[in-house]
């Protein structure tokens, strides 16, 4: 793109030089100023609490109860975080949370990806009904799902197990995962698959050799979104376990009995990975709400 222009730049050009950007009128400049003021205000409103809790989490213990609290502590300290991480059950519950999230990802993608593929590739009777069903499941309150499952889980012997928690997290993530995977597969042209079939692949082979590699980034995004859902879920994880707590369940059940710095450090600790993943999948955040694009 740039090479032709740079080549011609060495030659004297008959075209008058680009006059530069037009000066904005005072009115336009005022508008722009107001716009950026609004943007900065809103962005600080969103970011400031996160910043503050980060600061608080790395404030030395002796300054934690200082009054008035300075915006920036006198020194950087990991005591508060260390206290949180070393508290009884935190490390184990963090591990549990990771395990539950991984299990959830596995279950969700194994079930959602075929459905997303079907919705993206085929026009069939019942397709709209299925999509409606998926939408309706998003309406169910977590309490309604979790409470009745207690009995079922006892009977199945998976009460207080990580697998049990992963099962319900997968149920909660499934509708979203179906939506994301559908749009991911719609993004891979079906003609690519068809051409592979004319070149000698079976349908499965065409999927494996062409569609899957191209869909991989999108599927990774779906996995991360699933991770966030599972990592953040509190209610079901709390009522479906008694000893094998996930991190949010552990923090919640110890909330009333724990000192303020434990709460703050816990809040920060739970925030970090979620923020990281949201950053990685930011491209898909808007996409997945644009309705399921149908390929018609």
């Amino acid at each position: 793109m740039t090479s032709p222009s740079s080549r011609s730049a060495s030659r004297p050009s008959p075209i008058p030089p680009y006059p530069g950007r037009r000066r904005l009128t005072p009115r336009e400049r005022r508008h722009r100023f107001l716009l950026y003021m609004a943007v900065v205000t809103i962005a600080s409103w969103v970011l400031l609490p996160i910043f503050l809790i980060a600061v608080l989490s790395f404030t030395p213990r002796e300054e934690f109860f200082n009054w008035p609290k300075p915006l920036i502590p006198s020194r950087f300290s990991i005591e508060t975080m260390a206290f949180f991480v070393k508290s009884y059950g935190v490390l184990q519950s963090t591990l549990n949370s990771v395990w539950v999230a991984l299990l959830t990802i596995g279950i969700t993608l194994a079930i959602a990806a075929p459905a997303g593929y079907a919705l993206s590739r085929f026009v069939f009777r019942g397709r709209e009904a299925f999509r409606l069903g998926i939408l309706i499941t998003r309406m169910f309150p977590t309490a309604l799902l979790a409470v009745p499952l207690i009995v079922l889980y006892y009977r199945l012997g998976i009460y207080d197990s990580l697998l049990g928690v992963a099962f319900i997290h997968a149920a909660m993530a499934l509708p979203f995962a179906v939506l994301i995977t559908t749009s991911v597969f719609v993004g891979v042209s079906r003609e690519l698959e068809e051409v592979a079939m004319t070149l000698g692949c079976s349908r499965l082979g065409a999927f494996a050799r062409v569609t899957l590699p191209l869909a991989l980034p999108g599927l990774a995004a779906a996995a991360m979104f699933t991770f966030v859902i599972s990592w953040n879920e509190v209610f079901a994880a709390t009522v479906l376990t008694t000893t094998n707590r996930t991190l949010p369940a552990q923090v919640l059940t110890n909330l009333q009995a724990s000192p303020p710095f434990f709460r703050v450090a816990g809040g920060f600790f739970m925030t970090v990975p979620a923020l990281l993943f949201i950053f990685l999948i930011r491209r898909y955040l808007i996409q997945m709400w644009g309705g399921t694009p149908s390929e018609r």
Partner: protein, 365 residues
Amino acid sequence: MAEIRLENVWKVFGKVVAVKDVSLTIEDGEFLVLLGPSGCGKTTTLRCIAGLERVDGGRIFIGDRDVTELPPGKRGIGMVFQSYAVFPHMRVFDNIAFGLKMQRVPRSEIKRRVQAAAELLHIEDLLQRYPAQLSGGQRQRVAVARAIVLEPEVLLMDEPLSNLDALIRLQVRAELKRLHKQIGSTTVYVTHDQVEALSLGDRIAVMKDGEIVQVDDPTTVYENPADVFVGGFIGNPPMNFLPGEIAAPKKDGFLVLRAAGHEIPLPEEFVPALQDHVGKPVTVGIRAEHIEVVPEPTEGALPAQVLVVEPLGSHLLLTLEVGGETLKVMVDTDLRVEPNAEVWLRFDPAKIRFMDRETGKALLP
């Protein structure tokens, strides 16, 4: 190489009949164009031949093999898609080599054949690039190379030029014709562009509402359309149609055409075919270039009023009104006419086509 035979092929999507009882034989080495407006079933027909759609009825043969139940990869076809469908995650070389790898062709031979196919399409310098680094025309060549490297008996193309710029399209069109001469695969080519169809096809199959209306060589399709639809679809401007009547005013066996309040004597060779239609209403079809515009009243000429004059560079396109009907006429640029001027039209009687007013079907063979 092989001929393709479709026998009573049906394809139904829900309540829509996309392909309706189509039977067609495409000869070995032939370049057949499937032409029709969008939604006429031409692409579906092609996809049925490719095996991308399962037919709901009928059988498809390639050579002596009944391929109706075979998956696309086992039919011995190569296909070029409208979007080219070049794999974005593979280099050009791997794109072209894909089909050979599926067939487990030895590596050295893959290399040789990819090289040969690339040379045929003048893309041998692009083999190490990724598709994102290619222009539309280059991607199109990759798609074609990928299809022909397998030396398929049958080459299927679905509107391969429609995503290209007008200038490149002309160039690639000529190259496709050359390529077909060189490799000789039986080729089925789908397009909605009648100019493409006329320039490329050994024969053209015109489709409408899932049925084949006419299969003929380009000249015949142009000059002797099988019905009003074909005449109106092919040619730019489309064929003119006027209501008329065949009459036999004298007993000498000559016939005249009554149209727009005038009588045009018809050539002798039309007499046998039209004999039975004397006194019956017909639709008269005449191409824009077969009407002569004269500034003075002449024997057998129809008076007309000029409505619109459109200079097209090489010609003038006139829109005229004759006895309540609108006609399009091509004339040389040196004719000076203004809108609202009165002119006289002479039809070339040998080029007049007659259709049944009711069915629209052509009356002459």
